[in-house]
Subunit: 347 residues, 2 copies
Amino acid sequence: MAANRRPTLADVAKEVGVSAKTVSRVLNEDGPSSPQTRERVLAAVAKLGFQPNLMARNIRVGGPDTTVGLVVPDLGNPFFGTVASGIEDVVRSRGLTLLMGSSAEDPDREKALIQTFLARRVSVLMVVPAFGADHSHLKAPRTAGLPVVFLDRPGVGLSADCVVSSNRTGVHEGVSHLIARGHSRIGFIGDLPAKLYTQRERLAGYRSALAEAGLPYDRTLVTGAHSQDGAASETTALLNLPNPPTAIFAGNNMMALGVIAQLARARRKDIALITFDDLPLAEALEPALTVVAQDPATIGETAAKTALARLDGAHSRVRTIMVPTRLVIRGSSELLPHAARPTTARN
Amino acid sequence: MAANRRPTLADVAKEVGVSAKTVSRVLNEDGPSSPQTRERVLAAVAKLGFQPNLMARNIRVGGPDTTVGLVVPDLGNPFFGTVASGIEDVVRSRGLTLLMGSSAEDPDREKALIQTFLARRVSVLMVVPAFGADHSHLKAPRTAGLPVVFLDRPGVGLSADCVVSSNRTGVHEGVSHLIARGHSRIGFIGDLPAKLYTQRERLAGYRSALAEAGLPYDRTLVTGAHSQDGAASETTALLNLPNPPTAIFAGNNMMALGVIAQLARARRKDIALITFDDLPLAEALEPALTVVAQDPATIGETAAKTALARLDGAHSRVRTIMVPTRLVIRGSSELLPHAARPTTARN
DNA sequence: GTGAAAGCGCTAACAG
DNA sequence: CTGTTAGCGCTTTCAC
């Protein structure tokens, strides 16, 4: 249990009988070194279990730390986990390690986390902005050369690269699909009132699809909640409307769960449904769930590539990159509205 | 776009006209300082946007870096994401930041990641061991005082603290529940042959529940796959048996998805089902899915507390801590076996 | 209360 | 091919 000091470069040097710099050279394959010394250094390294102190190295080299700072609102959300996965896949080859933390959707906590990352001199900073957060405090670090990329939602108070899902287009496509099936009264249940960028965009997509089809926008069909149970209640409310919808679009995962649960409880198999964001069990539902699937891995990869390009000195204008969603038609969207339903079985 | 050097302690000192040490004192609230200097230092810090370089600090102080290294097999898996969330909740108050990486269930990649973390002098190391990985290389760092904790699965080749789900007991409870409902032929579909610790434990729980009830262990009822589709096929195979099971226990999430999908496709609503690990849509299925739920947040918290206790010098023997699972009875397990079928389970 | 010098572990810059 | 010196940004130690 002895707390032996971890060996240092000097320890290895002494063991071998060379200078510290020589050991450094061997380990970093910097400059030349004779096979023999090489051999003996490596042996000593193995014997002592030496591991170079990356902090000391980074500090001397002067550059940023070989880390990527990533702030997400919720570590347990698989969407962000998959985003992180995409980032790691890209930055790993550059020897960068992921520094991760959760803002818990709290601006203060986000800021504290970012400060910590800045103090650690991360190579790049990637942030999924918390609701209500401001990022003007990142101006100085950015000017000093720190690549900053926002993911999933644009940042506020700072002009920086941004990678988001094509929320608006995705919902537009989904709603158009329902309209093409004959639905004209389509409910929208989102995380409303829309405090979050993503929800605003998705609602806009809903509206644009209606407009494109020449359908009226009926405010009574648009509702929202902030929990699964809330979404369930809103589902009931929609279905109890004098002129109820024949189809529902759920604006995010949580809403989707509430809507699905409620439709199941109410045994309403006659309501068409599309949800935003895929779910693991989507295929096993009856009917299987049609979704507008996002591509979090690609979001992460794209953001990472963008950031690394900046790190390599890319000076192009800041961009907002849309990662396409994909309409996955499974079955829940194929139900025809009551009016159109009667006789003909669909193909 | 000028890449101005980030300001240093010396810059602040020069700005104020004091020594670097004075600035350091003010910032760390170490030693005394006159209100005036304090004031002026703080002003200069704000003006220059100075942020102390944590790497430099850590290197001088000599202790470990204020980071927690966490290795998981898959960043996109919400189970591990929630584990990470639990860890962060605990270590955040100590000012520790999460350094995270994915082994992709590859021992070599896991080892490389661990080496990187060691080189960064993480304060504690937490690992969800990849299948086939060996951890004897961690003996030296551990002896040198690095707390090491394994999560979800025990490590190999190293005696260290370990926090796992009560897999065996959890499955035992689930299977006993099915037996109590009158089922005597219960299929088990796992990630078999069981390469992973968790699967071995869960299978053991299955067997012990049968044994406890005096039921025979029928090998034809125990099967496995490594994919969702595989699980679906195995489900079909089980149901086509001459003497098929009336209930199925799915050994993990992936198996669960396959089984559920296949039962839905085959319209077999007469098969009781319990799966290990909860699913977001479990309540919305028909019938709602009974699960043996794990508690990943508690696993993470427990592991973090254990590691921090070691960091604080706890010298107790290494322990394996079981985090209880919870049988969540929803509906899919309440189906009774075909009344007509006599339970002639032999051979 | 404050400062000067030394040094954490490592590498850049120059020797030889 | 290898060693020496200096210094990254910070804190420790010891002075005043």
